[in-house]
């Protein structure tokens, strides 16, 4: 069977599996639609959380960013795992004890204010839609490769499939489906990694292979070889290159960590475990399943980079025969050119591919002496690396087919979970909770489906020109959640003094500061070429003038500090929360009596 047919077969089979499970477990009542009747075992819940959590950003995009940013991409690895520690200790058990459906419900009750609930809903919607834009980028990349179309067409097809998929089942369908998706995606991620690790280092475990010597008998460590290969072509040394300053790395990691603990589709998972103590261990299990992918990713990134460099630079740098001739370019190279995500331009007309860092002056001078006229890989979209990786390493076709299926599973599961969170925010928190308390169950369900459709279209449109690579876009979403939701939740549990006014102003200040800074650099609401309207990128005299060198993607950490500061200051000069609220806070702090709180 050729690759294309095989890919169709594998992707088709996994889809039938998910849809079959979704139909089998079709949501009956609105309660089940949201949180699956609160009866899911912590290990199963952890696995579903992991699938929900690991999106196109983790599966498709992250290793590509690692491949090109080396050590600097550690911010994603630490940031997207360390948040679970915060979740397990600072939020999950208490929110489970509180026992409501959604995050805004907690904020509305704790801060005894409908306005607080509305603000929380708006913050969640902004963060979630940004997140879905990132997923759409990943989905567009995966479908364009899978169907051999350009990126835009891939994105449109992906939107349609996400819509059908998310509307079909609620959380219950999604919980069991997501367990299946976890299994598919983790195999899809680790199998090629094991193969490639064996090829390069003779080590079956990629986590060990990354720190081992090359299998070619040279005795050189794999990472040392990689450092050598990339610096020879003028790129930064892999194991020491950073993303901005140390402060930026710090802020970036922090923003992703607290954003993890503030995102609704993750938190909502902890409402579905039977007991408070299960919420703690469930966070641990989720991280176990996530860590399998996250400790593999650094090896995938490093090995993909090494293979990519060696594919193009086949011989000595500067020798006439040292570069791959375009006519001999492998099939994957041509396939990705069709999507427009990989571009080659024969600048010096020698029919060979030169790929080096032309911005490095020493390298540019050397290149000129070799007769090179600039780096000819004019576009290498980072988000293609994971999908291209098995082909670059010449792995068998069935492995490539599984990777495509895994990438789609990752993107779809998270998009569905997020769309559900957006839908429940609008139908449950805004409509039923505030504007139309007497709405029927049927109408509530309908409203949530309409909200889902709207969110898909908005995110799909913005996904045509995403503000960053998939993982970068998702990082912005985390920053927005970090700046708004996390502080409100944490202070709601750990302080009895923070009141309604403080919380509302804190959330507004945090998200406004972050949004303004991001929009100045990425365009208003991420619409291209609009940043100059608020004095940002593209306006006269604007240089990418980063506040203390902190990038927009990392700015959620500053927003969060603003949120904390505003909330605590305002609360200290305004009226303390009423007695019954203080009792409520005391009550969520102890597990006892949790079962009574479950009933709605």
């Amino acid at each position: 069977m050729d690759l294309q047919t095989l890919t169709y077969a594998v992707v088709g089979a996994t889809f039938l599996l998910y849809i079959g499970i979704a139909i089998w477990a079709r949501a009956a009542t609105t309660g089940e639609f949201y949180v699956a009747g609160k009866g899911i075992h912590p290990v199963a819940n952890g696995m579903a959380t992991a699938a929900d959590w690991m999106s196109a950003a983790s599966f498709i995009s992250m290793a590509g960013l690692i491949a090109f940013n080396g050590y600097g991409a550690s911010v994603f690895l630490m940031g997207w795992t360390g948040g679970y520690v915060l979740l397990a200790m600072l939020l999950a058990p208490y929110l489970r004890k509180f026992g409501k459906f959604t995050v805004p419900e907690f904020i509305g009750d704790r801060y005894y204010s409908k306005a607080a609930r509305i603000v929380a809903v708006l913050c969640l919607i902004i963060a979630s839609i940004t997140y879905v834009i990132g997923q759409m980028k990943g989905i567009g990349v995966a479908f364009s490769r899978f169907l051999q179309t350009d990126y835009d067409t891939g994105l449109y097809i992906g939107m349609a499939i996400v819509f059908v998929y998310a509307v079909l089942g609620g959380m219950k369908g999604i919980t069991y489906t997501q367990i299946a998706q976890y299994v598919v995606l983790i195999f899809a991620y680790t199998i090629p990694a094991v193969f490639i690790s064996l090829q390069l280092t003779d080590q079956p475990f990629p986590q060990i292979g990354l720190g081992s010597a090359m299998g070619d008998g040279s005795g050189t460590y794999m990472l040392d070889r990689l450092d050598q290969v990339v610096t020879d072509l003028g790129f930064k040394e892999y194991t020491t290159q950073t993303i901005g300053s140390k402060l930026n790395m710090f802020a970036y990691t922090f923003s992703l960590m607290i954003g993890t603990a503030g995102l609704p589709h993750v938190i909502i998972r902890f409402f579905t475990v039977p007991k408070v103590r299960d919420a703690r261990s469930s966070a641990g299990w989720a991280l176990v399943f996530i860590a399998i992918l996250y400790t593999t990713a650094p090896a995938v990134g490093a090995m993909a980079r090494l293979n990519l460099m060696n594919t193009i630079q086949t011989g000595e740098v500067g020798s006439a025969e040292g570069n791959l001739a375009y006519e001999n370019a492998p099939q994957w190279f041509k396939n990705w050119e069709k999507t427009g995500l990989l571009k080659f331009e024969d600048k010096n007309g020698d029919g060979r591919i030169q790929y080096y860092n032309e911005k490095n002056e020493d390298m540019a001078a050397k290149a000129a002496s070799y007769g090179w006229a600039g780096s000819e890989m004019t576009k290498v979209d980072r988000d293609i690396m994971v999908l291209a990786n098995p082909e670059i390493a010449k792995l068998p076709n069935w492995v490539i087919a599984i990777v495509v299926a895994g990438g789609l599973a990752a993107a779809l599961s998270t998009a569905a979970g997020l769309l559900l969170a957006i839908a429940s925010s609008i139908s449950h928190d805004l409509l039923k909770g505030i504007f139309a308390p007497n709405i029927s169950e049927g109408a509530e369900l309908m409203a949530s489906r309409i909200a889902m459709a709207g969110a898909i279209f908005a995110a799909g449109y913005l996904g045509l020109h995403p503000p960053d690579f998939a993982a970068g876009t998702v990082a912005i979403a985390f920053g927005l959640a970090a700046a708004s939701i996390f502080p409100a939740l944490m202070m709601g549990i750990f302080s009895k003094k923070v009141n309604n006014t403080g919380a509302i102003l804190g959330m507004l200040a945090g998200i406004s500061v972050t949004m303004f800074y991001v929009f100045q650099h990425k365009g208003i609401a991420f619409v291209p070429n609009t940043a100059h309207l608020i004095g940002g990128a593209g306006s006269e005299g604007f240089t990418a003038n980063w506040f203390f060198g902190i990038s927009p993607n990392a700015f959620g950490s500053v927003g969060a500090l603003v949120n904390f500061a505003v909330a605590l200051t305002v609360s200290s000069v305004t009226k303390a929360p009423p007695e019954h609220i203080q009792h409520m806070v005391e009550d969520v702090r102890v597990p006892k009596g949790a079962d009574a709180a479950v009933d709605h």
Binding site: Q207, A213, F250, R589
Partner: protein, 85 residues
């Protein structure tokens, strides 16, 4: 459950959290970012140690920390008689 028991329980919980988050901070921010250069002078196989903490070690530590916290909290719940069922 008495008032004092509840507040003792909460203080014990906060102390435990403070300990865990200190470890959390040290392995990621300190070893993985702030002190990465000096640690990189040490090798762990083919890994530089600071690089290893940033891309591997911190993640393993996080997993252990959560299960450690969960088991200690289960003991605390029972000790202060605030456990479920």
């Amino acid at each position: 459950m008495s008032e004092t028991s509840a507040s003792d329980y909460w203080s014990a919980n906060k102390r435990l959290i403070a300990f865990c988050l200190t470890v959390w901070f040290v392995v990621s921010y300190l070893f993985g970012i702030v002190l990465v250069e000096p640690l990189n002078a040490i090798s762990l196989g083919g890994y530089k140690l600071g690089f290893w903490f940033a891309q591997q070690g911190s993640i393993y530590t996080f997993v252990v920390l959560i299960f450690f916290y969960a088991s200690r909290m289960n003991a605390l719940d029972r000790k202060h008689d605030v456990h479920e069922d």
